[in-house]
C-alpha cells in the first residue's frame, strides 16, 4: 500500500464523525440525507466529511441519478489494518518470548519446590 494512500486513510479515520459514517455504512448503503440524520449536522458538513472519505478510497458513490447512495469500500481498511498489524509486532513478538521465558521459570520453580519438599507451614517454599 502506498504511503500517500495510507496517510489519506489514517487522516480520514482520525475524525469521530467520519468513523461513525463508516460504521453506519458498514450496515448498508445510505444517502447523504440519511447519513446526516443521526449526526445533527448539516448536509454540506456531512458532504465535506464524505469527500475526505472518498479521497481516501473508503467510500464510493452510486451512479443512480435520483439517489447517489454512499457505499463503504473495505479494501483500504483491510490494507490499513494489515499494515498496523505489522507495527504491533514490536511488542507482540517481545511478549511471545516472555511467554516462553515465564513457562520455563515456572517449570524451574516447580522442580525446586519438589526437591525441597513442602515446609511445615504447607507453603511448599
Amino acid at each position: 500500500m502506498g504511503t500517500e494512500l495510507l496517510d489519506a486513510t489514517f487522516a480520514a479515520l482520525a475524525d469521530p464523525t467520519r468513523r461513525a459514517i463508516l460504521a453506519r455504512l458498514a450496515a448498508g448503503e445510505a444517502t447523504v440525507t440519511e447519513l446526516a440524520q443521526p449526526f445533527q449536522m448539516s448536509q454540506p458538513a456531512i458532504s465535506k466529511h464524505l469527500k475526505v472519505l472518498e479521497r481516501a478510497g473508503l467510500v464510493s458513490r452510486g451512479r443512480d441519478a435520483q439517489r447517489r447512495p454512499c457505499r463503504l469500500e473495505a479494501r483500504p481498511l483491510r490494507e490499513a489494518t494489515a499494515w498496523l498489524a505489522g507495527y504491533r509486532d514490536y511488542w507482540a513478538e517481545s511478549y511471545q518470548r516472555l511467554d516462553a521465558l515465564l513457562d520455563e521459570l515456572q517449570a524451574v520453580d516447580q522442580t525446586d519446590a519438589e526437591r525441597r519438599g513442602a515446609r511445615p507451614d504447607g507453603t511448599g517454599r
Binding site: L13, R88, L101
Partner: protein, 168 residues
Amino acid sequence: MTGVDDPLVVHTPGDREIVLSRLFEAPAPLVFAAFTRPELLVRWYGARGWRLAECDVDLRVGGRWRFVSLGPEGARMVQAGVYRQIEPPHRLVCTELFDDQSYPGETLVSHEFYEVAGRTTVTTTLLYATAQGRDTVLRYPMARGVGQSYTRLADLLRSTTTTRGEQP
C-alpha cells in the same frame, strides 16, 4: 499472527497516551522479575531482529536503567531512564528517553501487574510529553500501538464482514 486475534490489546485513551495490555500465564512476582532483572530482560525484550546487548538496572527509586539494543545491519539503539515507583509485584514506574529521540520530552512508563488465579495482566501506560510525540511514535515502524480508532476499525471490519455474509 493477525492483528485482530493477537492477545495484545493496544488503545489510546488520551491524546498523549498509549496503553498496552496483555495476559501472561504466570504469577505476578515472576512477571515482575521478568521486567526488572537484567538476566531475564535480555531473554525477551526487543523487536524482531533486535537483542539487548547491554542491560543495566539499578532497581531503586531514583535509580537509573539503560538498555542498549543491537539490530539488523549493525543498528544500535540506546534507551534509558530513572525509576520513579517500585512496588513489587504490583507496580513499576520509570521515565524513558532514547539517545536518538525524534520527539520532545521524557516518556513516563507505568507497568501495572494484576494477578488473578496465577495469571497476570500487565497493563503498560506510556505517557508522552506531548500529543505530537505520541503521534510520532504511532507512526514509527516500531510503534507500540494502533490506537483506539484502529481498534474500532478492526471491529468495523468484523461487522462489515458479518453484514455482507448476512445479505441475500
